[in-house]
Symmetry: C2
Subunit: 412 residues, 2 copies
Amino acid sequence: MEYLRVSEAQRVVLESVALLNAESAGLEQSLGRVLAEDIRANRDLPPYDVSAMDGYAVRSADLVQVPVTLEVIEDIKAGDMPSKIVQPGQCARIMTGAPLPQGADAVMRVEDTQEISTQLIQVVTTIKDGHDVRPQGENMRNGDVVLSTGTEITPGVIGILATVKITQMQVYRRPRVAILSTGNELEAINAPVDMNKIPDSNTYALMAQVQALGITPALLGIARDDPLELEHYLKLGLEYDVLLVSGGTSVGVHDYVRPTVEKLGVAMKFWRVAMKPGHPLAFGTTGKTAVFGLPGNPVSSMVCFEEFVAPALRRMMGHPRLFRRTVSARLAHPLKMRPGRTEFVRVQLTHDDTGYVASSTGTQSSGVLLSMARADGLLVMPSDSTGLAAGAQVTVQLLDGTAYQNETNIRE
Amino acid sequence: MEYLRVSEAQRVVLESVALLNAESAGLEQSLGRVLAEDIRANRDLPPYDVSAMDGYAVRSADLVQVPVTLEVIEDIKAGDMPSKIVQPGQCARIMTGAPLPQGADAVMRVEDTQEISTQLIQVVTTIKDGHDVRPQGENMRNGDVVLSTGTEITPGVIGILATVKITQMQVYRRPRVAILSTGNELEAINAPVDMNKIPDSNTYALMAQVQALGITPALLGIARDDPLELEHYLKLGLEYDVLLVSGGTSVGVHDYVRPTVEKLGVAMKFWRVAMKPGHPLAFGTTGKTAVFGLPGNPVSSMVCFEEFVAPALRRMMGHPRLFRRTVSARLAHPLKMRPGRTEFVRVQLTHDDTGYVASSTGTQSSGVLLSMARADGLLVMPSDSTGLAAGAQVTVQLLDGTAYQNETNIRE
């Protein structure tokens, strides 16, 4: 059977999963979800012309010739309504956000005036109509769609939702995800240490990758290499929207799992992808459940999750952005490569005057999970590459833990 | 009073907050926390030399002259222990991860052999000692520190924790954070619409920014402009590790809040920072509680949170990375600027052949929260800049929602 390219395999996966239905979420539980309805403004904001500054509401026509002395007729605080009309030669003391009184058409900053008495100010600069005034409806107009279906709910979006007083909204449901490890060689986390066994790390690394997307997965545990036990666990897993099966070994497990999953109605879409690490990766679907057969090697399993499972889960939740953010970096050292497969090299990122610098985390053996724990990103080596020299520009996918950095790296 | 530079104000804030004490967390609730203890390996991994491939465990000395025919003496699966010693002229069928039998020193891939019968294979290539063998302790050695205090718990780290069978660990406590809005002009989210009031969005935008750091804040509500009410709410807030007070208007609220917070024992460290948006920003501490006085304008409040509050909260939780990740981008259009203050311009990021392209989200008025909701990042304009031409290279701090992107942007 042919090896699929990474992008072909991604396309197959993404075409096989559907946007889930909507459900209701409260504002305080909505961060990171995706809106499944349009949100409209419930009023004009600001509701009228308001001051953008602390200062004086003035008639710009009064200031054509300066200096000029103006009479202060009242104090308008935010939350107050003006009670007087500003006539020629008059002004009103006004706070940021307070409504502009009738007659006034501009705001003079307090710094640009001189107080002669509590009732009199002198103005020495001229300003135009509308200066430092936030016009009615500048932020939003009553009835307008301010947030559309498909918007990811970030803190800024939550600010808008609170502004239009939405406490409950429709969001796309999160997929129910089950995680199953397979193999006689695996030792459960609560089992005593057995030197002849391998601790089951995949269940928990995958759990955390799923949690990082805002989903709490069900951990089904470890299925031993027994057809009936495997069938029992796989049946359990097929009750979920997504089933992640991580296998102990390559040819062995596939020979073993394949007939069982097919017997249970899973139509397999692919079995091989031309990537490293990432062998063997399989994908199929029952129509109801998307089934990923992930490698038993912990690094391979995590990389396959990043490249295929995360985009699928994000699509199901309605996220427009499916793929890990990439940055361009300079390679710190040469990298050898055997062409034929897209290679994902675990790298650490540092920063110098020229931008990002990527260095390998060390051994790239797919058995060495520490390399993944230490990685800031995955450097993507194209499949036709035979290697890169030190200093080459490379593309790096950012991993978890890289939303923040050590230094500000800004010039202030 | 002098205006502090952004970096000076950040330094003052970070020097005023301390790492919190440790607490116990379960593995399944530990993602995103920071380890407050060193974690050691509880065995060698692999516990002995194991095969890195499906193939045949061979004696490399047998393969000096090829082709050669070898007798297959047993099948070793992952989880099995070898029962025989491989003698000259012999080999054992071996699965990935299975222990290398005594006598053998290398693994020949199944693809590089030819099966003559179930008991006999022919090998046509020569390999060296150690080929496709993962040596004992390659991943970790019993007793070695595999994760140090101060490590952020990412999915890869959770894989390591599961590997060494840690189900409960010490992590730094999360700060208890209270959020208070102030001002008569504010309308609570559950209050009826009053055209003369401004909906309180800051409480919820700040809530979401705090939630994005893994902390569930306490929402104290809205304190009206009354000294006794304000004192009551501030006293409540000073029971927390961090108190965020967002004020309605600039000079007014500060005049109002300042005597009350000082009366309650808050030593103010600064009142002014040379940034835009971000006026007025204040910071003080009681020793027990760090108090941030944030601007009433929703965008200003969010930007101040990003630049000052988030780094402080992350330091308290033990994160080594305190500041938002930055990327370099090309400016899509000219930007004007009045020098004197560091300016944070809300931008959207796209990607072309040359890398990131930054474009303003539109109006940069600090009252327009939609600009923040639409922003992918904050473009940082140095305080000595008088503007930038289209095409200029700029630094952009990535905001929430930017951990993923629309396209893979990789060459595979």
